[in-house]
């Protein structure tokens, strides 16, 4: 469908405006930066909304410009807008706008506040550009830039050592994924000689028309052994794994909580970490069944592992971080089983409620921190054991957080109910056609979902309902709801966590506009699982919520919550993966580096130096002959010859280069004699 030119001028500002805030502030503007940043991102959001209404389910918009050419191959840069990209655009700019509003209060008084706005601008620019890019090279470019802005924001309080370390860790772990992405690009480029998304992945694109024949993966232009198709899928998935914090590359995300909470909310919960899921969705045709199964397994392990770890953490942000990892595992698993639309649906609903969880937690942390410092007490203000009883002090935060948690658990009337049950239903349907170990996937997911209900209830009850801790009770009684701007943001997000924005029917995801926007095939086995799954899920969840209430509010079953036992320790030790990595990888790379430095010093250099010593000895010897034999002969001759000899001696002053020159002359003579005369 032809698109009027006017839209280009609407698309570009969406991404460019946040960049302008970055550039302005970076170039030295330090006044009123919060208004500048907020204005730009809101305009960007409004334009995104307009584009969404123009493009969603109506048309695809694609425009390209020539970027550069290498040899004879042209590389283009362009914008590709379809359902997926406009949805992400609205999500990213919308949540970013809310976080901007929130941060005005939350970050007030920070001495480097202008940098904060600059970095946020850079992040929004990169993330928005990532979702509208039309080629793998461009996606890769912005992919790394979001990683970079996340690095800057995690390390925002760079004078803290832990923040500096966490930002480095995040960047390097993401780089591991980037290598995968880059390798994928190399494979695709070799096979198809283009990196253009439309040419590659559209209906009847290069990817679809390529085929496997005689163990060769054949395309129009070239062919590679079949294994490269699997490798291509696997390495792209590796890229997604790092960015979306999938096991075993997830350890950077909990550490990334060193950044300001508003940043954790925007980047490390709602948007950037979803980029991996987005990438998989964008290049979906590249994945063959083997790789899809890898996704299922990785996603399942991730969802389960992170949920078990979240059970025992005490840092409020760390619990939420593991919860994010677990939910991302759900999405990845769903993509693996082919539940494409369900996965994107969950990505969207999760973005809102997880953002809300973080922002509400931020409000709590803000109060705890503020009053702790005011009262001069000393305790960890992010520790949920120090909170409790905040329900009466911060009612709005409590209500919004409860709604978000209900969505996370998947209780009826929330958005999470729709998207999570949709995924679980699909998983059961899918598993009924599988054989072997894959059959246990839906049960593990069910278990993870139950664990989710428990850990988030534990958090809510400990923070808002339990009796306050003795140390921190003066702080608790001083706390009150956050200032208006922050609270409004919480309430808006709370509304967005209910079923209303997504579906008219609170109980059926199939009438949801968002889900239908990505539906490709009719679900065949609807019925049986459809009725059963939501009932089971909710029954289990209710039981666990009650259990959590009894344990953490009424103080029953204290033996269970006490922290004894091997399983508890594994969980609170985060499966000891950090220790394992540090021991196996970090240490061994350090050792290797040390070793190559030794080789350089003691092997290569000493060879060079001993060669030089040999040459020096030879020249010493020739100096000796010079003096005693040649010179002696010369001195015996007449005065004329003697004079010539002394000139000769002057030349042969023992300098190495002169001896090399004489070697050269001899060789030269030899060469000429052999070949030319």
């Amino acid at each position: 469908m032809p698109v009027s030119d006017i839209q280009i001028f609407l698309v570009l500002p969406v991404v460019v405006l946040p960049l302008i805030s970055f550039l302005f502030i970076f170039a030295g503007k330090k006044l009123n930066t919060e208004n500048l940043a907020l204005f730009h991102i809101s305009v960007s959001f409004l334009l995104s909304l307009y584009l969404f209404s123009a493009i969603w389910d109506k048309q695809t918009f694609h425009i390209q410009w020539s970027w550069f050419s290498v040899g004879g191959t042209e590389f283009k840069a362009g914008i590709l807008l379809n359902n997926l990209s406009v949805l992400m655009m609205v999500l990213v700019s919308g949540i970013a706008t809310l976080v901007h509003v929130y941060s005005r209060v939350y970050m007030k008084g920070d001495p480097n506040i202008h940098k904060y706005w600059a970095y946020l601008g850079l992040f929004c620019f990169s993330m928005l550009s990532l979702v509208i890019s039309d080629s793998l090279l461009l996606i890769y470019l912005f992919w790394e830039l979001v990683g970079f802005s996340s690095y800057l924001l995690i390390g925002f309080w760079y004078t803290r050592d832990s923040a500096a370390r966490a930002s480095k860790k995040a960047f390097i772990m993401n780089r591991i994924g980037d290598l995968g992405f880059l390798t994928g690009i190399m494979i695709i480029y070799q096979q198809f000689h283009t990196l253009d998304l439309t040419l590659l992945f559209a209906e009847n694109g290069f990817m679809q028309t390529s085929f496997i024949q005689n163990a060769m993966w054949v395309s129009d232009t070239s062919g590679m052994p079949e294994i490269w198709l699997t490798i291509a899928g696997a390495v792209f998935f590796l890229g997604a794994m790092a960015k979306s914090a999938q096991f075993p590359l997830h350890t950077w995300l909990p550490d990334a909580m060193e950044g300001p909470t508003s940043v954790s909310s925007l980047i490390h919960a709602a948007t950037m970490v979803a980029a991996g899921v987005f990438l998989i969705a964008r290049i979906y045709p590249v994945f063959n069944p083997q790789v899809l199964n890898m996704m299922v397994i990785t996603g399942t392990i991730t969802a389960f592992m992170a949920a078990t770890i979240a059970l025992t953490q005490n840092d409020i942000k760390r619990i939420l971080a593991y919860s994010t990892i677990s939910q991302l595992g759900f999405m990845i698993m769903a993509l693996g089983i082919g539940a494409y639309s369900e996965s994107i649906f969950h990505l969207s609903t999760h973005a809102f409620f997880k953002c809300l969880l973080f922002l509400a937690a931020g409000a709590v942390i803000h109060e705890m921190h503020h009053h702790r410092d005011k009262l001069g007490l000393d305790f960890d203000f992010q520790d949920i054991r120090r909170m409790g009883g905040l329900r009466k002090r911060m009612p709005l935060a409590c209500i919004s957080m409860c709604i978000a948690s209900a969505a996370l658990i998947g209780l009826p009337l929330t958005s999470g109910f729709l998207s999570k049950d949709a995924m679980l239903i699909k998983t059961f349907e899918w598993a009924s056609e599988q054989v072997g170990i894959l059959k246990i996937v839906p049960y593990l997911m069910l278990l993870s979902s139950a664990l989710t209900a428990f850990y988030i209830s534990r958090l809510i009850f400990k923070v808002f309902f339990a009796k306050p801790d003795v140390i921190s009770s003066p702080v608790i009684s001083a706390a009150k709801d956050a200032p208006k701007q922050m609270t409004y943001v919480l309430l808006i997000l709370a509304f967005l966590s209910t079923f209303l924005p997504f579906s008219l029917n609170p109980l059926s995801y199939e009438v949801s506009w968002l889900w239908s926007g990505f539906r490709s095939v009719e679900s065949t086995q609807a019925g049986f699982y459809h009725q059963l799954i939501p009932v089971i899920v909710n029954a289990i969840s209710m039981l666990l919520i009650i259990l959590a209430y009894l344990m953490y509010v009424n103080g029953k079953y204290s033996r269970l919550a006490s922290g004894e036992g091997l399983l508890f320790r594994v969980s609170s030790g985060e499966w000891y993966l950090n220790q394992f990595y540090s021991f196996t990888f970090v240490k061994s790379v350090e050792k290797l580096a040390e070793l190559s430095w030794r080789i350089d010093r003691y092997v290569i250099d000493s060879i060079v130096l001993s060669t030089a010593a040999v040459v020096r000895n030879i020249s010493d010897f020739s100096r000796w002959t010079d003096k005693n034999i040649v010179d002696g002969a010369v001195n015996g001759s007449g005065a004329m010859v003697s004079k010539a000899g002394s000139i000769f001696r002057m030349l042969q002053s023992g300098r190495l280069q002169h001896y090399l020159l004489s070697i050269l002359l001899i060789l030269l003579t030899f060469l000429i004699l052999t070949f030319f005369i």
Binding site: S69, L141, L145, D161, D178, M186, A612, L660, L664, F675
Partner: protein, 527 residues
Amino acid sequence: MLSLLIFLPIAAAILILILPSRFEKVFKHICLGVSIIQFLLSLFIYLNFNSGTSAAGISNAGQYQLTEKLPWIRLDLGSIGKLEIDYFLGIDGLSMPFLLLSALVMFVATIASWEIKTNLRAYYPLFLLLNTAVIGVFCALDFFLFYIFYELMLLPLYFLIGMWGGVRREYAAIKFFLYTLFGSVFMLLVIIGLYFSVTDPTSGNHTFNMILMMDPANYLDGSIFSAIANQELFGISARLLAFIVLFVAFAIKVPIVPLHTWLPDAHVEAPTPVSIILAGLLLKVGGYGILRICYSIFPDAAIQSSWWIGLIGMVSILYGALNALAQTDLKRMIAYSSVSHMGFVLLGIASATTEGVSGAMYQMISHGALSAMLFFLVGMIYNRVHDREISSFRGLSELMPQFSAFVMIAFFASLGLPGFSAFIAEAFSLIGAFTSVYLPEWMAIGGSVGILLSAAYFLWTLQRMFFGQIRLKGGEEWKTTLYDANIREKIALLPLAALALLLGIFPSLLFDKMNASVLAFVQLITG
């Protein structure tokens, strides 16, 4: 035009030598003026450069631009024939970018020379002589002339390191000198051999003309380097041997592992401006020589050796990066990172694909700018407190915010952050290596691990030196000596950062100028 570019510094050097010493204060300004004029001239050349396929250059003498050809030495040698050496200059897409880079790096190095306080009357003429030699190398099309410029670079460098360097400067200078001399002595043998193998079809004389050497038809029947005769020396093909000899000569400059150990020592001992020139230009002479001479004159032997060259490239990338990770001296760390980054050049060249060769060229320009920037930054800190140990500093970004911002830019640009030139360069070197029929896929993938390692050593350094609470070895005293970047330093750093950014966002600025030549080059070597 090219002669003006080459001999302007010589003229300035003579001027400095004859000026009375009371003008000593303006020497640096003369030098700066020279580099600005050179920059403007090369910018003019860049803007008027014909990038069409009819001006591709490489093996076609008629397609070179701004050529100057004068008979230089004509000596009747009796039975061997007439010695024919021309003063032959010209540029194509492979050499033109280096003119611009040379002018820029020289400009920055001159600004860095402000720190040099002793013996200025010797320093600046040597510096200008080096300038002449470097530009001459990139313009020369006669092998003899090339060799003269090539050797002429060594002399001033030796003295610049040996006289204005650090504590162990003499050791470093000798090491540097021996290494490169080792390479060039054998190169001379090959040059002589080539001279006797190639004849000028118009005059019938033997010739040093490089372009004529690229055409197999100009080789005498039965001569040692004739491709048809396929002579053997010491049991291997003479052409292959000659290729290896030339390759080693240039590869020492690049440098490659294991012929690289002169580089860290030379850098650590050299004064800042010399480090800048060394990393920014001298290493590129090596890469340029491999393209212009080794590959173009011996394409058959080059293709035969692709696998090994690719391997050397990959090993250099990884080995250099690992060594950088182990360093405690900031300057040595950056020197090793140069080894690693230049490995991409070899990997790209070895691929013999347009993507790879373009990537290699891009990497040389990009690394030229970035390494100049890195060494300048190290020089700034060394100049203030005479210490470069990473562990002596902590929390610098509180103390020197602008300096730290430049370090961040330089580090992230060097580790291949998209938006900066190194990203395009490394991506295309790797893509080329991956798609090449001469290299196995694992070499590209192995090389890409170098990108990961570069992130590790740069970010680790950032974390240790720049973040955290301020903690300095020199205590309170250093807090006052470690002042932030001043205007002079910013003038030097800004153009480099701007170039890296510009080339990262608009790769066509460079690719468009060299595409035709790269295509012709790949055509020449792959037949």
